[in-house]
Symmetry: C2
Subunit: 416 residues, 2 copies
Amino acid sequence: MNYQTVKGMRDFLPEEMLVRKKIFETAQTVLEKYGFAPLDTPALEYEETLTAKSGEDVKKELFAFKDKGGRKVGLRFDLTVPTSRVLANNPHLVMPFKRYQYGKAWRYGEIKKGRYREFYQFDIDSFGSNSMVTDAEIVAAVLEVYKKLGLNIIMRVNNRKILADMMDYAGIPKKLWQEAFRAIDKLDKVGLKGVEKELVDRGISKESCKKIIRLIGTDSLNKLKKILGGCEGIKELEELTGYLKSFNVKNYVIDVSLARGLDYYTGPVFEASCKDIKVSVGGGGRYDNLIKILSGRDVPATGFSLGIEPIFELLKSKSKQASSTKVFVASVKPEFDKKVVGLAQKMRKAGMNVETDLMGRSLKKQLDYVSKKGIPFVIIIGEKELKEKKFTVRDMKTGKQRKTGFEEVMKLFGKG
Amino acid sequence: MNYQTVKGMRDFLPEEMLVRKKIFETAQTVLEKYGFAPLDTPALEYEETLTAKSGEDVKKELFAFKDKGGRKVGLRFDLTVPTSRVLANNPHLVMPFKRYQYGKAWRYGEIKKGRYREFYQFDIDSFGSNSMVTDAEIVAAVLEVYKKLGLNIIMRVNNRKILADMMDYAGIPKKLWQEAFRAIDKLDKVGLKGVEKELVDRGISKESCKKIIRLIGTDSLNKLKKILGGCEGIKELEELTGYLKSFNVKNYVIDVSLARGLDYYTGPVFEASCKDIKVSVGGGGRYDNLIKILSGRDVPATGFSLGIEPIFELLKSKSKQASSTKVFVASVKPEFDKKVVGLAQKMRKAGMNVETDLMGRSLKKQLDYVSKKGIPFVIIIGEKELKEKKFTVRDMKTGKQRKTGFEEVMKLFGKG
């Protein structure tokens, strides 16, 4: 028998899954505060649905096969195509349709560090509204998710229309835009001089280069407006930042060099990065044409995708517990086990996460288990403790012990 | 383009997904109080792993195919096989290993009412302990899950060893056991007379029938003990009920006619049914040999599977909201929208689930949206309200309105 996981796929043991669960739960709680609701779709879609509008690279990486009825099916490679199908199928959906969806997606790609063939996606999207308040709401909501996770995040904000106007202003022909965007996207890494070199290398004229460098070096929207004139993108960006103020959002910067995914986005674009270590932990933007292409239904849309893997990498070092148990109630002798169960059950009733020994083990072995599992506190129950109704509570980190009554135990570990 | 879901599979729109989410969240919270921790495994497994020990019926229903590297893979049909693989792969796992896992599984079966080809499973299992305290802990934990979900549940409890002793006592040859179990399992529906007829029809002698009927009509363990003598199953059942008392569990009955899944279980068996409408909402038991067969590792095990679909059917009628939004802050005129956003954001900061209009709609259309989405309360913001800093709060169910200040709004909808 083969006990390996399928190549490119992983098990998540409790240590890791508890961290992922925290990410999912935090995101759900915050997003529901803003009126986003959960959607769920099957892992399998008809191959035709998955490939109708997707590029060759997606087709190449599809887990596709025929089911036992001869139907051509495949595992979803993202959550956008299934949601577009839901929009096409449910004309009665009340607009705006604000949904979040998380779950696994599958791509048969090259396996690299941090890249697997099965991975979690977490998408948040608003369908049906053209207003910039919608984009601001998504930025506010996801920034609150990061904050609740304890991450120090800055959101970079730009607008695809500004980039288009910049290209026009610099006289760059449309067929070179994608090249220019790739060069500009490197600003963070290579600086203005580096971008200039990249632009020239990619066949953009010296004169165009100068203009671009001047624009992306601009640090205020007003200066940019003076150069570009009445730009729709700047107007949208001003509307967006106006709403961000109402949402009391401060940790964002306007970055006219942000160019992400331009074949897809039509307006605002966002990218969240960790302040301390400059790693991208999510991104998104407005994509008003895509849903029509995918579903035939003309619905404006804006959304954000949380980077579950990079967020997980940032959080996993903080927690090493293999359970969320807070207290282990240990028994000095096996014959006290029913008393121990009774006490543990009372503590659970008060909302605490409690474990007891299930293996009839010695106290030493019970404490071994506790330290292997990373459980922070132990209550030790012996003859004396049962008589006196006083319990010895040990803090496993400091090794300190104290004797307390039941009421105090409840106060120590209770939820209020 | 094909907009249908794959045959036998379903989308879950927010109305339904919110109910499922409640089931998953409640179960997770309760199970973690008892020290169970989440595990996650891939949707795909090697076909060899899935079929090594499974019957023909499972093989027939497998979604199996070759990946692009020619590897024979398949979608998991349950969560027990993947967990057995995890046990085989991770010899370092600290025992007892108490895990819960929920997620989708796939079977290409006949599509009937309530039976789909993609479905959620939710398994809770303890690995590594022989003690009946483990079985009692699982019963206590799942009964608390049902209670927290508002379901009125009774747990039927039996032991596979009692059934075996009953068969021996009645002189039924082993090859007819499975037939006898099927007949006995019908007691609830057809009564003692009906079971007797079923037994005879299935080729069991009149004499054996009488003995069986006498045994399953017995209403106390003591009487049963007198008839069967020193039965290991009764001893285990007494241990189990002793521990259930320590867990303060009362809503169970001993039912010696409970026979579920006997080729698999080795000790206690459980089945949870709804008191009001006698529908099974989950079941489980001890299976000490299965993990060795599946993983080569000799690990005792006991577990329970929550019936997500029947639980969902019982709960879904209770809730019809398409979001978990509690209050919609409506704006009389579009120019107040930033004030509205600001107020909503303050309410969110206090933990409330709040929505505002994103479409620049009239008050009437905003109220339309609110009633379509089933949002219970509306706060209406107009010129007067902004000046007086008093807000009109409307209860959408009763239609009653009242004017209140911000502090009172916080008290009305806040979390404390």
